[in-house]
Every structure is written in structure tokens, then in C-alpha cells.
Symmetry: D2
Subunit: 131 residues, 4 copies
């Protein structure tokens, strides 16, 4: 299982008229999970962008197993499946207690300011390997 | 190619600090594409929910090929790959002119108000087949 | 009454668990209304930012009179109340048919890239006066 | 000064192409502040809706004094200005360290499931008075 998690509460702004969390909203929660995961390894993605290493999402897939609702407390687990020359593959899971709500896979590319692929900075690659 | 499309402009609220459309935002645009696709076949998903047929997203995958930016005009193409007993598989593409920005696949389940799987109402199934 | 309007449909992503459009969402719709209003006067706010005239919102107030719901078609009216040396005051209204849903007032400042106040470029000021 | 606050970090999904937090996003943060304020007084707004007391926003006003950016840590202060028969007036402030970013005022109405005004349940009114 993933070695890193953050806790989040679902608020009204997360929900839709179906009474559950809107399907796109989880992508924001998952972004937060990845950001905090990286930060816990000493990698600040907000700073790395200023240094010319930007990490856009190039592929994303998600299974919605059970819905979260207004007021729910969920836990977002994040781990790295693999890192390539200029890509990072994340696996993430959102759980409410023992119940799996979401499983997701996100592939980030590493690009420069012209949005062209570049090698992941070595400092970042080494830091994430400690995962 | 898909037989249905809608046109949309990207606004400031769609963008992020990277200067491009935020990765979760496309899921809202794609929802609009599916809604209008269904409506063009005579199926109003907003109404069907009131009649006990709700269509939550159970699986979603997306490839981000090129980013959209503030002020861009994009076209969202929608088609159905297949329909099952209680699922609908959509294929969608977002293009800016001739350039493909997004390819996405969305699987909707058909559930009742207790969020249990149920057969897609026949009227809806027949209408969507005319695609 | 305002001389400019856009039409918009409310989608699932606009709604919350109360079954109505979430209170923050109208600010996105109102942004679209202001963008299109300016464009109709020949002013492209997305372009002006590249030329060093950025228009952040510095004050906003809104009355929520009646809620919009999933699938509703609304009309967003926009007019300018006044323009100052470095500010533009918009009045906006959202209606569903004859029913007023929203009344809002937005004050934009004109700032440079360092986010310091600057005069509204003359070309823009003249164009908006034609309102 | 307000007796209640929550801390929040600004993520990529909060930002726009201007490199700062999008003006509508603060309304989500402010909602979280009010929710947690009420919870700290023993009032769970998510639960009260199930019991027929719903609190839609009927008026909102906000001054944007300084922008928050990606990665910023902000503090959201919440207090009650006054409560009426069927309304609650909140005052809120968002600060980054000592710097005020946002001042906002929100008026909630108390309505029943038909969205008609009703008295604030006494239990809630008493609990909030302890503020």
C-alpha cells in the first residue's frame, strides 16, 4: 500500500446535484495528494516550475467505485509506480475508512517552459526514488 | 469520426497558473459534450434522473496531447463506442482547428436512486442507438 | 436595461448537493459575460494582458434572488456603470426567462504585470465608452 | 478579530492564467471556513439540511486586497456579525501571514426544502450565539 496520505473533508463545493462529489473534483484532490507526496520527499513542484521543470498531466485514468458525500472525511493515498526519463507515473487511491472510493493513475511529463519534453532534474528524480 | 460536436471557448476560469486549461476542467467540457450529444438524440439526462435512471461516471481515461489556452475556441466531438445492459461507453475528442488536444473515454453506469445498477431504460437505449 | 447578453445552459458541474447552481459558479458565468461584452466592443481582455494591461477583480458583490438548476437556460446581461482612471464598474444580471436570478456588481482594476495600478489603455477606454 | 480560523494551502487548481488564485475560488475557501466555524460551535450544516433547515447564500460581497499564489499558506478567519429571524451574517478575512488578502461578508438565509424562508432552528441559533 501507498506510504503517503493526506486527509481531506468533502465540502459543498465538491458536490453536484446528484448529492455526491462531482467526478472532476477528485482530480483536484488527487493533485493535492501528489503535491504533498512530492513535498514530503523534499520536492516542491510549485518551485520547480520557476526553475524550468514543469510537470503537466499527459495521461490520467480513474475508476469510481463508490461516491463520497458532503461532509465525508476521506484519505488520499499516493505512491509512485515508476519514473522514466521525462515521466512520472503515480498510483493513487481515495478511501473513506476501509472503503475504496477511487483508484487512479496519473502520468506526468516533465517539460520546459516551451512545453517540450526534458529530463527530470536529477535532484528531483533522486528525491522521489526515496519513496 | 464522431457525428456530434459542440463548440466552446476557454475562459479565465478554465485556466491555471501554467497558463493553460487545468487538467480537471476538460472533464466539465466533456460532460457538456455528452449531455448535448444525448439531447441531440432526444435523451435529456437531467430529466431521466428524476425518473430514476441516473448515469454516474464509473470509469474515465484521458490523454492530454496539447494544451488549450485562455480565449481558445475548441470543438468537442462525442460518439458512443458501445452500450451494455447498464453501461454506456463514450469516446470523445477535443480539437482546436485540426489539432487534437484531448482524447477521452468515459464509461457511465445506469443506476437507480439507491445507486444500484439497473437496466438502461429502453427508450434511452433505442434513442442512443440511432447515433 | 443592459445592451449585451450571452446565453448559457447550466450543467451538472455547475450544481451542488442542494440541487441548484453553487454560489461560486455564477462568478464564472459572470466572467464569461464580461469577456464577451468587452469583445463585442472590440476589446480582447485575453490579448490586453499580453500587452501589460491586466484587469483583476478588486471588488464584487452579488444578490442571489432565485436559484438556477441543472439543465436551465439562463441569460447573462452585462453593462458598464462607470469607468475610472484605472477601474471599470460592471453591472450584471442573470435571468431565466423573465425571472431575475442574480444581480451582481464587479469592479475591475487595471494593473500592470507587477500588479500595480495603471491607467486603462486609451484604446480600451474609448472602445468601452461606445457601450 | 475573529475567534475562529482554518489554515489552507493554495494548490494549482485554485489558480488561473494570471498566476494567482482565481476570484471565484475564494468563495469555496470561505465556504469551508463557515462550515468549520459552525462545526466548532456544534452545528453541522450538512446534517441540518437533512432536517429541513437549508442555508443558501443570498448576499455576498468581497474585497480583493492582495492575491494568493500557488503554494501559499493562508488563514481564513470567520466570525458572525449578527443573526436575524432567518438570516446569518458572516464576516470573514483571509490572511497570508500578517497581510490581509480578502475581506468578505456573506448573508445566509434559512429556508426549508421548498426554499421558503423559515426560522433558524433554535438549537442552531443558540449554538452560534456562543460565538
Amino acid at each position: 500500500m501507498a506510504d503517503h496520505y493526506i486527509d481531506k473533508k468533502m465540502y459543498y463545493h465538491d458536490t453536484d446535484a446528484g448529492g455526491v462529489v462531482y467526478y472532476a473534483r477528485y482530480l483536484e484532490h488527487l493533485e493535492e495528494g501528489r503535491f504533498e507526496f512530492c513535498l514530503s520527499k523534499g520536492v516542491n513542484i510549485a518551485e520547480s516550475a520557476k526553475e524550468g521543470a514543469i510537470f503537466p498531466v499527459v495521461h490520467f485514468e480513474i475508476d469510481y467505485k463508490s461516491p463520497a458525500r458532503y461532509g465525508d472525511q476521506v484519505r488520499i493515498f499516493t505512491s509512485i509506480e515508476k519514473t522514466g526519463f521525462s515521466s512520472i507515473h503515480f498510483l493513487q487511491e481515495i478511501k473513506k475508512g476501509d472503503m475504496a472510493l477511487i483508484k487512479a493513475k496519473t502520468v506526468l511529463a516533465c517539460v520546459n517552459e516551451a512545453l517540450k519534453p526534458r529530463a527530470i532534474p536529477d535532484k528531483i528524480k533522486q528525491a522521489l526514488k526515496k519513496a
